[in-house]
């Protein structure tokens, strides 16, 4: 594209009062050789009209020096054919000026400092404009709009129904020989409407017949997924009869090192009997997206010997009791044990949750419904009835025949033809023993992904979702922000596999997952990113001639977007890609980049910053800021007038994972005195939008610190900080403290070389 540039400097919102606008315009027109126009309100009708007129006359690359790129997005959008870049002069320069304390004199050169900072931001924005190209979306030739739903329980039925209702073809596969899943055995279901006190008819039968009568839905019972290869828009799904083994089963994960060992014959190939993961199954059915609703299995409770499950006849699990209740009358005296810890601890059964609490309340109600003198004892350490479910709890409490107490159940034993339950630490103030006919243990709901791969992907990074131990095996990736997203683009989980849910919740959840699957299909069809950079048209371009097959990108990609060939050459799957750039950050050969975000572009921006020599008041520190949380937090800090040291230059990045260490080298060799990475929290409670980015960046920075030491530079010149979007009040201090450390260290000794 032939670029015609023009820069626009806005003097509104206090920018013009604080900065020497003419000098700034001279920087643009002079150093950067771009036309430059100044007005006092470019986001207003007149200002916008001015830019639009220029665009009409051929300007196709617009640089706006005004407010943060996070605001006025529509005002500064000049259509698909126009590149627009923003220099954040307002939030991060003028509003973020580090003002002196009340009793201090301002620095004699304060005004100059501010002008220099603004000039650098304009230089960076203009450089970015010169280096940015318009992206060409990556589109699939053959995109399938069919959605695969795995699991025919409540969640699967709902996802199939909702996707079909939205006009999409659905394949619904179920391992069992009939649809319905666990809910087939439920006698009644929880209240779903005001007053939240009455049990309702089990909806599963009606849902099955609705799905069976839907012409958009193909049902395959007694069927399992052998493997799923490919990516969104073109998943190659190989199915098999449930419970069988085939050569198309998903291969186990083999790391790069293991692969070498296997080649040398030093290790047995775990996938010897299986077809290679890259081989395409000619019989595979192509689907565009996957909804995984494989549900849960009841937890094993036989390990708690004092409760007698398996040894004493009338000790049953909640699932077994529900079946009894569905088939007929339940006994008149029943104890419901929610927590197995006895005197040792107050933990509930593993995988217990609000649903098992609700189940106990429901089953206690069966006891009173089926028997005139029915008595149900609920012995719990915790009752969890969130939201409106609390009203059901209250109603159960009002039932004369339901007796609840917090209790440590120490023993269940046979006592004639009855059972004796002994409990301590009760609310009644004394130890209890109860004579009952039956004891019901609250077995938890273990997600199917806890023990098995379940999704069975034929991916370079292995068949299962990774790092699920962070979520106790639930197929979830980032609970708060993106409930449906897994670490595999195009696969959306719902129902019991994602979180223990009631029928009502599972229906909501599955509806959401179906919509996410549709969103994925439609975004893939337009060749844009699905999530979280929804609508991003760029994609990582690999300059393969220079690839050294180091496999870092394939291993580090948080989403398993990259497969590879036998030699280890990466094979990108753009429809799996989330455009975080972690591959770009990982590549030592710097061969990966996006049209508007690449090694050269950011490197040039760094180099465009003016680095004065021999001036201790004018050190330069570059800070790479994650644009998901840290950058908006900086904007907020600016809005609150929290000052940032004038020596700092911020550069937004897609994710810290995309920060290539070449940039740190660029910065230090350009004479800058320090470099810092501001990104999201990582670890068990990570907040990284791309899951692993900030963690990986931290490791890389540790390594580069070591490299610096060997060069005789202080490793402390490079730092990483974890911040959250709510840390706007702390971030300026964090940055300023870092600058102070650098000032104490003195200027970069390589300055000027």
């Amino acid at each position: 594209m032939d670029k015609k540039y023009c820069a626009y400097l806005c003097s509104g919102c206090g920018i013009g009062d604080a900065l020497d606008m003419d000098a700034l315009a001279e920087v643009v027109t002079g150093e950067m050789s771009m036309d430059c126009k100044t007005a006092d309100c470019f986001c207003g009708t007149d200002g916008r009209a001015l830019i639009e007129a220029d665009v009409g006359e051929g300007v196709n690359t617009v640089v706006v020096g005004a407010c943060s790129p996070r605001v006025m997005k529509n005002e500064f959008d000049f259509g698909d054919g126009t590149i627009t870049l923003r220099a954040n002069l307002r939030e991060q320069v003028v509003w973020a000026e580090d003002k002196p304390a009340e009793d201090e004199e301002p620095h004699a050169e304060a005004a100059e400092f501010l002008n220099e900072t603004a000039a650098d931001y304009m230089r960076m924005a203009c450089t970015q404009a010169q280096k940015t190209e318009l992206p060409e979306p990556h589109k699939l030739e053959n995109l399938s709009r069919k959605i695969l739903v795995m699991g025919g329980g409540i969640a699967g039925l709902t996802a199939a129904r909702e996707a079909a209702a939205a006009g999409y073809e659905v394949t619904l596969i179920e391992k069992d020989d009939k649809l319905g899943g666990k809910a087939n055995d439920w006698r009644q279901s929880f209240p779903t409407k005001s007053p939240w006190t009455d049990l309702e008819d089990n909806p599963v039968a009606a849902m099955i017949s609705e799905v069976e009568g839907d012409s958009n839905i193909t049902i395959k019972t007694s069927t399992e997924v052998a493997r799923i290869a490919g990516g969104p828009g073109a998943f190659r799904v190989t199915m098999k009869a449930a419970g069988t083994e085939t050569e198309w089963d998903a291969p186990a994960k083999v790391t790069g090192e293991e692969r070498e060992l296997i080649e040398k014959g030093e290790m047995e190939n775990p996938n010897a009997s299986l077809v290679d993961y890259m081989e395409a199954d000619p019989n595979a059915e192509i689907h565009g997206a996957v909804v995984m609703a494989t549900g849960w299995v009841p937890a094993d409770v036989s390990e708690y010997e004092h409760l007698g499950y398996g040894a004493i006849k009338n000790v049953v699990t909640n699932v077994e009791f529900e079946k009894l209740a569905k088939e007929g009358k339940v006994p008149a005296n029943v104890a419901f044990v929610q927590s197995p810890g006895g005197k040792d601890h107050d933990m509930d059964f593993p995988y217990c949750n609000s649903v098992t609490s609700m189940v106990a309340l429901k089953q206690a109600q069966y006891v009173c419904e089926d028997n005139d003198e029915g008595k149900a004892y609920l012995l719990y350490q915790h009752m969890r009835t969130p939201g409106s479910q609390e009203l059901y709890y209250k109603a159960a409490q009002q039932n004369d025949g339901i007796f609840m107490t917090k209790a440590a159940v120490t023993k269940v034993e046979e006592n004639g033809d009855k059972l004796k339950v002994t409990a301590e630490n009760t609310l009644l103030g004394e130890d209890l023993d109860l004579d009952v006919d039956m004891v019901v243990l609250a077995a938890g709901m273990v997600p199917t992904t806890k023990e098995e791969d379940t999704i069975n992907l034929a991916y370079r990074q292995g068949p299962a979702f990774i790092d699920l131990d962070l979520f106790d095996g639930y197929a979830d990736s980032h609970f708060i922000c993106f409930p449906y997203e897994t670490r595999r683009t195009g696969v959306y989980t719902c129902g019991g596999v994602r979180k223990a849910e009631t029928i009502d919740e599972a229906i909501d959840d599955a509806t959401g997952a179906a919509l996410k699957a549709i969103q994925c299909l439609e975004s893939t069809d337009r060749g844009v990113s699905v999530h979280p950079r929804s609508g991003d048209k760029t994609w990582p371009d690999f300059f393969m001639q220079r690839c050294t097959q180091c496999k870092r990108c394939t291993e580090e990609c948080p989403f398993g977007a990259l497969d590879d060939d036998e030699k280890g050459t990466p094979l990108p799957n753009n429809t799996r890609c989330r455009r975080c750039g972690t591959c770009m950050g990982s590549c030592p050969e710097r061969i990966i980049g996006f049209t508007d975000y690449n090694i050269d572009l950011i490197g040039s921006m760094i180099k465009s910053v003016e680095v004065p020599e021999d001036d201790d008041d004018r050190l330069r520190v570059v800070v790479f800021v994650c644009e998901n949380d840290a950058y908006p937090a900086l904007d907020m800090a600016g809005m609150r007038g929290n000052g940032v040291n004038h020596m700092v230059r911020f550069i937004p990045v897609r994710c810290l994972g995309s920060v290539n260490m070449a940039w740190i080298r660029d910065a230090l060799s350009a004479g800058m005195d320090g470099a810092m990475l501001l990104g999201c929290t990582y670890g068990d409670d990570y907040q990284c939008h791309f899951v692993k980015g900030s963690e990986i960046a931290n490791k890389r920075m540790e390594n580069i610190g070591e490299t610096l030491s060997t060069l005789g530079l202080e490793s402390e010149r490079c730092a990483t900080q974890q911040v959250a979007i709510t840390d706007y009040d702390k971030i300026p201090q964090i940055v300023n403290d870092f600058v102070e450390e650098i000032v104490e260290m003195g200027p970069n000794p390589f300055k000027g070389f």
């Binding site: 209250k394 409490q397 009002q398 007796f403 609310l427 009644l428």
Partner: protein
């Protein structure tokens, strides 16, 4: 502790004002709020869960249930609307019936449905007595002016003992005797269970003198002074009613005792001691002041009860109202009889006086089974509390 919840007991409590008892979620706001609850034996949190678990045996012998003065603080502050004070009231009503003797009569006094019978019994008894006594006629104005109601049950020329007194003592003393016996049985049974539950050993027991001087007398002093009642700060209204009412009963008891001594003992030797008291007789003044205090007290309680019921802070139960009605009836008919005597209206006077006798007999006869029984049970519970905290109240091993 083996627990066998008593579903009927729960139903009873729910029907007797404790309808919300199962709402309790054991936060103990009630125990913290209660001005009478002690640190060592807080209530009514534990009573609430015992109730919702139908633990009847524990509750009827729980002194704390009787120590409660029903101020309603717990109910006002209960975050769940479980109305603990109503539950405790319901437990007390259940206990009075359960301890009551004879059981049939006790049961009878629990329901408004039985009111015709409850009123019918004294009506028939007194009416039959009236017939038997031979006094059954409405006196002339002159006769009424001279003797008042002194010839209600007729008159005989036996100077040492008046016929009227004979009949009244016959009716009222028998009623009181039945009530007294019933209360004695109930209270001793309760005491024993309370001792057992508190695990108090029997190696050392107080003598009667010790018991009265250390436990009973201090409790009575407390009761007369309304010390605990006054601690219920939300209860100032009810203290204003209950205190005059109690003093009125004491006053009337003194007057009755004086009259009994004067007529039945002194009268034996000095026949002139018979006959109505003069208006300015100090005892007559005490009687009239007491009557007015009684009416004032019951009026205050009536209004207060109506108010809390309207505010939803207490439930409208027969148990509570029966006693209020009974006392009101005694007061109104008593004072009414006196006024009618001054007005010299013998026919109306006799009818009202008849009603007064009926009301008094009801109060006496049903005393152990109605709310009035608190006079004995609460006193005993207060004495027990002091006993439990004394050196006698140690468990067997420590003794």
């Amino acid at each position: 502790m083996n627990v066998q919840p008593d579903l009927d007991f729960i139903k009873h409590l729910k029907g007797a004002g404790g309808d919300a008892l199962k709402k309790c979620y054991q936060c103990a706001t009630c125990s913290v709020r209660c001005p009478l609850s002690s640190d060592d034996n807080p209530f009514p949190r534990k009573e609430m869960i015992w109730s919702s678990w139908g633990m009847k045996d524990k509750l009827v012998a729980d002194p704390d249930v009787y120590l409660c003065h029903n101020c309603g603080d717990c109910t006002t502050y209960c975050p769940r609307g479980a109305k603990p004070s109503e539950v405790l009231g319901a437990i007390r009503s259940y206990a009075y019936t359960m301890y009551g003797w004879p059981a049939g009569l006790a049961k009878l006094a629990t329901s408004a449905k039985n009111l015709p019978v409850l009123i019918g019994i004294p009506v028939v008894v007194i009416f039959v007595m009236w017939l038997i006594s031979g006094g059954m006629h409405i006196p002339s104005r002159e006769e009424f002016g001279t003797y008042g109601y002194q010839h209600f049950f007729g008159h005989w020329e036996f100077k040492w003992y008046a016929k009227n007194i004979f009949f009244i003592v016959l009716i009222m003393a028998s009623s009181l005797a039945i009530a007294g016996f019933s209360l004695y049985k109930g209270v001793t049974k309760m005491w024993k269970t309370m001792s057992d539950n508190a695990d108090i050993g029997s190696a050392y027991r107080p003598s009667v003198i010790q018991f009265v001087s250390q436990f009973l007398w201090p409790s009575l002093v407390e009761i007369v002074k309304h010390n605990r009642f006054k601690e219920c700060t939300t209860n100032t209204d009810r203290v204003r009613g209950h205190l005059p009412l109690m003093l009125a009963f004491i006053g009337l008891a003194i007057v009755t005792t004086y009259s009994l001594v004067k007529n039945d003992i002194v009268g034996l030797f000095w026949p002139a001691a018979h006959g109505p008291m003069y208006f300015f007789d100090p005892f007559k003044i005490l009687a009239n002041v007491s009557a007015i205090a009684l009416l004032f007290g019951i009026y205050v309680l009536w209004v207060s009860r109506t108010k809390t019921e309207a505010a939803g802070e207490s439930s409208r139960t027969f148990y509570d109202w029966f006693l209020i009605w009974q006392i009101a009836a005694v007061g109104v008919t008593g004072l009414g009889s006196e006024l009618l005597r001054w007005l010299s209206l013998p026919a109306v006077g006799y009818i009202v006086y008849f009603c007064h006798l009926v009301a008094v007999m009801m109060l006496f006869l049903y005393l152990p089974y109605t709310k009035f029984a608190h006079i004995a049970y609460r006193t005993v519970a207060m004495a027990f509390e002091k006993y439990r905290d004394s050196s006698f109240g140690k468990p067997a091993v420590e003794q």
